[in-house]
């Protein structure tokens, strides 16, 4: 991307802000967000990331889902953490999502449209940017 002027920065911010609000990335309307700070990676987040991708392929969902990475959510005691944003489903953060949980996460949440029990966590604080 070329160097921007002030106006270009503002235009970019507005369009990206709308993208984030639409929850729609690259034409895919489901997002799986994996926490990839040092703590997450140490707990196996990379393997989880790969296992989720594999599982999505298995269920023919790779065209609908985008897997993203983010930093540490602060919930180090239940790493790896994975957030799932999908239409018709509440947005949920799951903890202790080791690679062997990937398959049940995809099946439960995306195929059966129900929540994965005993792994749900609360976001630790309200988002100050939203307001």
């Amino acid at each position: 991307m070329a160097r921007m002027t002030l106006d270009e920065l503002r235009a970019l911010r507005e369009s990206k802000r709308q993208d984030l609000a639409r929850r729609d990335v690259e034409g895919k309307n489901i997002q799986i967000i994996v926490g990839m700070g040092t703590c997450g990676i140490a707990a196996g987040a990379k393997q989880t990331f790969d296992a989720i991708a594999e599982s999505l392929q298995k269920h023919g969902l790779e065209d609908k889902v985008v897997i993203r990475q983010t930093g540490c959510m602060g919930l180090c005691y239940v790493e790896p953490t994975v957030e799932v944003v999908a239409p018709d489903m509440p947005t949920v953060i799951y903890g202790k999502m080791t690679h062997d949980m990937a398959e049940s996460l995809v099946v439960k949440h995306l195929v059966e449209h129900s929540l994965l029990d005993n792994h749900i966590l609360d976001r630790p604080a309200a988002d100050i940017v939203k307001k």
């Binding site: 070329a2 180090c76 005993n118 309200a126």
Partner: protein, 596 residues
């Protein structure tokens, strides 16, 4: 087929003990009885951190937040909310009787103890994509600093915000910037201190890993205000992921014209370089850091002159911690008034802490200043592991002190922690339980300081070693009572006479444990006893002949070996040879091995 509702029942230990499990089961039973088991799913979740109002039940997608729920409320939740689509108003949380009852979780953080300013983007954006930072108010602060606000206005804004340095000492940020700005020298520098060295602290690492642009933006703002062209981030080499993400972020900012020549067409030039530290603790001290940045050996130099007057290469330099910078970009985006509403009168905003040790929910927390330690440890942290008793919490790492049960309700501010003989420090928070020994802890931190003392000044170089030797003697049971006075004497001298804060605060863990747990020190000295068994030299393992059946398991496990005995006859431990590993104690099924 999509479900109509999801019912989340808190499964934290606090709520479990207040019958959350029963509620979970009755909700499932009621859903079945009322014929809606396919419309609703009942699940258990982690702790909501609002245990005093537990058990908590949350219904999605309405985000209904029910408190003090009883098992007999289950039928109503199902019939009202799932079948008729109405909230059960009487169970909704109200702040007080008059307040509107239908508060939505996302509107207000009424039940959450945490408030995230520094970590606002951590766990939300992709740190390797600058566009996601920009989308969330990113670089609006830099915009203001470049085009809208004069340097005076920015300084005024920081002053109004009340932001103080988050590296630990709490110096007002605006004052540092203003002092540097007023120096006539045409060459100035901005330095970010990312040399997080406290054992157990990782807030800065996580901030850079999760949101590197919040630091980059603030450094550019600072550069503009003080009129510097070059910034440096001094970060320890043992943070490879943070370094990678910082590099990517700087490259992206440069590509888009947010760093480098003529930023956003404003005519202002500013760039940032990364400098890696080799991991010496003393390089977190600002003057030592600047020495190391210049390529010299990392040793502190006397202050004054302060870096604001004579810093990097003898040029006026603003040096701030990662967290301070991350706050600046938020203040510039959202305004000083917004920021100043958070926190206490003298300590504004929030503080991040790395909560570790004997705690259930270890992790990265950010709370408004003025939050109590009890709230952090018991509400956010979920209390002590395995139901053990809380003993103390060490804040500020090797520079801080232990804070005991008595002071748990003290609101956290720079002043209150200092008054307790500890300090804010960078924000490591290590929780200890009844199984920890204060002598062992003091010895650990003193050993750390002996290793990390740069050796330049005598009080620190000699003092830490002398204090360590005494602590070591105490842990072996060979010290005398007057050694405690010596510890205090040397500690006080070091505090007063050391060149930098490493030596100046190295005695804190010892002095504070000595103040609060003198009895435990005396037990080691007088009775040669360490209750927790952490001081190995004081522990004696023995076999009680009456209980020993002579199975020989302990003898087989002993790595020395020093346990002898005939088959089916009581065994004996040769105490002279025993290395006190405790294996025999662990494996004995008959309680015959005793620890004294």
């Amino acid at each position: 087929m999509a479900k109509k509702n999801f019912i989340l029942v808190c499964g934290g230990t606090g709520c479990e003990s207040t019958r959350a499990d029963e509620i979970y089961r009755t909700l499932i039973k009621e859903a079945e009885l009322q014929g809606v088991k396919d419309d609703v799913q009942v699940v258990k979740t982690g702790c909501f951190g609002f245990c005093e109002k537990g058990p908590i039940v949350k219904v999605l997608p309405q985000e209904s937040f029910y408190v003090e729920v009883k098992p007999q409320d289950s039928a109503e939740i199902i019939s009202e909310q799932v079948i008729k689509g109405r909230e059960v108003v009487r169970l909704l949380y109200r702040k007080d009787e008059k307040a509107a009852s239908n508060i939505k979780l996302e509107d207000i953080q009424f039940y959450q103890k945490q408030f995230r300013i520094v970590l606002r983007n951590c766990g939300i954006i992709n740190p390797e994509n600058i566009e996601e930072y920009i989308a969330r108010e990113g670089y609006t602060g830099l915009e203001k600093a470049l085009f809208k606000m004069k340097p005076d206005d920015v300084i005024e804004e920081l002053k109004k915000s009340g932001l103080r340095g988050r590296g630990g000492a709490g110096f007002p940020t605006w004052m540092k910037w203003d002092l540097t700005r007023k120096q006539p020298d045409p060459v100035k520098y901005v330095v970010c201190n990312a040399d997080e060295g406290d054992p157990g602290a990782y807030m800065n690492r996580s901030t850079i890993e999760g949101d590197p642009h919040s630091v980059i933006e603030a450094m550019a703002i600072c550069g503009k205000i003080i009129d510097a062209r070059q910034g440096y981030v001094y970060i320890r080499a043992e943070y490879p992921l943070a370094i990678d993400r910082l590099k990517i972020a700087i490259d992206q900012a440069r590509d888009m014209g947010l760093l480098g020549k003529d930023i956003l067409g404003s005519g202002y030039d500013f760039d940032i370089e990364i400098r890696l530290g080799a991991g010496a603790f003393v390089c977190g001290e600002e003057t030592a850091l600047l020495q190391s940045l210049e390529g010299k050996r990392g040793m502190p130099v006397p202050k004054p002159p302060f870096p604001a007057i004579q810093g990097l290469w003898k040029k006026p330099t603003v040096i701030n911690n990662v967290e301070t910078f991350a706050n600046v970009s938020a203040i510039m985006a959202k305004g000083a008034e917004w920021f100043a509403k958070v926190g206490t009168e003298k300590s504004k905003g929030t503080k991040t802490f790395a909560l570790t040790g004997k705690i259930n929910n270890s992790g990265l927390v950010e709370v408004p200043m003025g939050t109590t330690l009890r709230e952090i440890i018991f509400d956010i942290g979920g209390g002590i592991k395995n139901g053990k008793k809380f003993k103390g919490v060490q804040t500020g790492g090797p520079s801080g002190g232990i804070i005991t049960e008595r002071s748990l309700d003290e609101p956290i501010t720079y002043e209150s922690l200092a008054a307790l003989g500890s300090m804010m420090g960078s924000g490591g928070m290590i929780v200890m339980d009844e199984d920890d020994c204060v002598v062992d802890i003091a010895k650990f931190y003193m050993a750390f300081c002996v290793d990390e003392s740069c050796g330049k000044c005598a009080p620190c170089r000699i003092g830490t070693k002398q204090m360590y030797d005494i602590l070591n003697k105490i842990s072996k049971g060979t010290a005398l009572e007057e050694d405690l006075d010596k510890l205090e004497k040397i500690g006080k001298a070091m505090t007063k006479a050391s060149l930098c804060l490493l030596g100046g605060s190295a005695a804190n863990p010892t002095l504070s444990t000595l103040k609060h747990f003198r009895e435990e020190y005396l037990e080691h000295i007088r009775d040669h006893k360490c209750k927790s068994g952490k001081c190995k030299e004081l522990v004696v393992y023995e076999i009680e002949p009456a209980k020993c059946i002579g199975c020989g398991l302990c003898a087989r496990r002993c790595p020395v070996p020093c346990i002898v005995g005939e088959k089916k006859q009581p065994h004996v431990i040769d105490k002279a040879k025993c290395i006190k590993c405790g294996e025999c104690f662990k494996v004995c099924k008959f309680g015959a091995v005793i620890k004294r």
